[in-house]
Symmetry: C2
Subunit: 362 residues, 2 copies
């Protein structure tokens, strides 16, 4: 055993401050640029990678104290994900407490303010609540949590109003915290409702890794479907005041969760009248829908109030999403395809939610 430095004791027990702890990172400037710093005196190469860089990274520059830094941007308002590469070691920013919770690995977050605040940032409006609901799952064989956004006014005394429900799914390597902590779904709903742009609704955010992260995923979607239909939806409809008919139930997700939402939604049209996919992971999806339709678009057209797909043109999934839309059009399936500039990142999924939530339940 070896005595700790004062700094290490601080990082654990947090009572003294030394040099490393005075480093500010990220430092967000008024113009939306941000400076990232890390103290790594013995490193030979340090890089910054951010989700806004589209697969590139930026070399950082060492000063004579061994602190590496780089300034980038301006960045879009909202939370962005980044990491450092220190001599090949990919790490979160050691001094930044904003961390993305994940199924595997961790990453740091930088919050770029908007002026005025964006629709996915805190505004001076009434705020809903986010409930962390924990329950044993017989289907999955574990005890896990899902999060439930309730809109402002839900808990007002004497309120007996029932609300429609959006089931909102995250992507690969996310958790049930993703949509509220990084996707800002709760703030987006607060702001859209305050502006009169969306119906007040409940938003349910489950954890979409039904099987452990490194396990065989073959059955993940099927287990998610059973978990949602047999456990989460009945529990939500018992616990919360909801409109429990299909006309008041929507399912939307991004990436892996977009494939889940689309397949689970289409397989259960008796449950969902609104289906959406953001930057949808397209593996097998077109084939599935084509086979399910069997040449008859009315199977979807007669039942769905909305079938919505959004994708960024800089996403590697863009071509497959566009192709899916083309095929649906050829088959006569009513749907909306919403292509914009954008990467496979939260910056786009927040904008997708701002775009699609106003189309639900009205």
């Amino acid at each position: 055993m070896k005595p700790l430095t004062a700094g290490f004791v601080f990082m654990l027990a947090a009572f003294t401050v030394e040099a490393q702890d005075r480093i500010i990172s990220p430092e967000v400037h008024a113009d939306g640029t941000a400076t990232f710093r890390i103290e790594a005196p013995k490193a030979t190469e340090v890089l910054l990678a951010g989700d806004w860089m589209g697969g590139e990274s930026k070399p950082m520059v060492r000063d004579d104290q061994g602190v590496w830094s780089v300034t980038v941007g301006p960045l879009n308002p909202g939370l962005a994900i980044y990491m450092f590469d220190v001599d090949g070691m990919k790490i979160v920013d050691p001094v930044n407490p904003l961390v993305k919770l994940r199924a595997h690995t961790a990453a740091s977050l930088v919050d770029i303010p908007g002026n005025p605040p964006s629709l996915w940032q805190v505004r001076d409006v009434p705020h809903g609540e986010v409930a962390i609901v924990r329950a044993k799952s017989e289907v999955l064989g574990d005890t896990r949590a899902y999060r439930v956004y309730t809109p402002p006014g839900y808990y007002e005394q004497e309120s007996t109003k029932n609300y429609p429900v959006l089931y909102l799914l995250h992507g690969n390597n996310g958790t049930e915290a993703d949509w509220s902590e990084i996707g800002s779904a709760n703030l987006i709903m607060d702001n859209l409702i305050a502006e009169g742009l969306a119906e007040p609704m409940i938003v349910v955010m489950p954890w979409c890794h039904a099987v452990p992260y490194f396990a065989d995923r073959t059955n993940n979607l099927n287990l998610m479907e059973r978990y949602l239909l047999e456990e989460v939806i009945p529990q939500v409809e018992k616990r919360f005041r909801v409109q429990s008919d299909r006309q008041h139930r929507a399912i939307i997700g991004f990436s892996m969760g977009g494939r889940q939402s689309t397949v689970i939604g289409i397989r259960n049209l008796d449950r969902f009248a609104y289906i959406g996919g953001m930057s949808t992971y397209p593996n097998g999806l077109e084939e599935y829908i084509v086979a399910m339709l069997d040449g008859n678009p009315e199977k979807l057209n007669s039942q769905l109030e909305l079938l919505w797909f959004g994708c960024g043109r800089q996403d590697k999934f863009f071509d497959k999403n566009e192709e899916l839309s083309t095929t649906l059009s050829k088959l006569g399936v009513n749907h909306t395809f919403y292509p914009t500039e954008g990467l496979h990142i939260y910056d786009l999924w927040r904008k997708h939610l701002v775009e699609v939530a106003p189309k639900l339940f009205r």
Copy 2:
């Protein structure tokens, strides 16, 4: 700009797996020992520091692939905090998604199962909910969240039961998520209630850094007092079904939060009948209480149902906590001092909550 390695793209967007991502850390073994690993091929010295080590660290050993590892323990059941020191750089475990959210810096968590599960781990019992309540604070000039545990049964239809309320405060460099995510207060209450060991109660967990982490903290406690009394308590008592008299209101905290709970509690005896401090940060506390009493122990004895202090013998604050208890005894102030083996860590604060919660409201 420089192209990213496949692994870095994975860490950001999470679609491929490479060598680093197959490293398992921590690997918890059946006997409660745990192996920690980090890939750092170019490093010359790598250390592990855990909160259970009491200010020491353990050298890690490099294999021929550049992966450093060490096995420690057995550790106590529950969540423990650790970090790596790579050539002086203090970092979280890059492959472990369990991260402690903080006011400043970040740390990793390891979860050691108990067999059977400890009172602070998931058991097969009814689970309460944790609500994340966000509200603008006029006192603090920001919009921030607090968390509110509601016990099982709270949301059962037709329930009109009112509950007592425990205000539970965290220590320095924590957040409002601390007590539920690491302190496991919600699981502890679930288990104690299921065993009939504690009254069903609401637990309110605010964020106790009233001023920014690096700001002048002189006024932090006074602002916390105003924030709690003028905003949090009235909001909680409007939103939740509570017993709102002082006999059904408790305030307890650990470390910085123990000083806050003790001072705020004693300054507001018209509000609180139960006051507790865990591993209390003692700065000025004894002097404050002695001055407040002015030789008359009845000021406290006649009003408090419980004045409780716990501290671990291996805590640097132990002597001052013991001295406080001795002084209170000399002055004739009824109180409980609960010294045990233990460091200044969550392992002890969970046990403190298990010890003190059954003494509340009964």
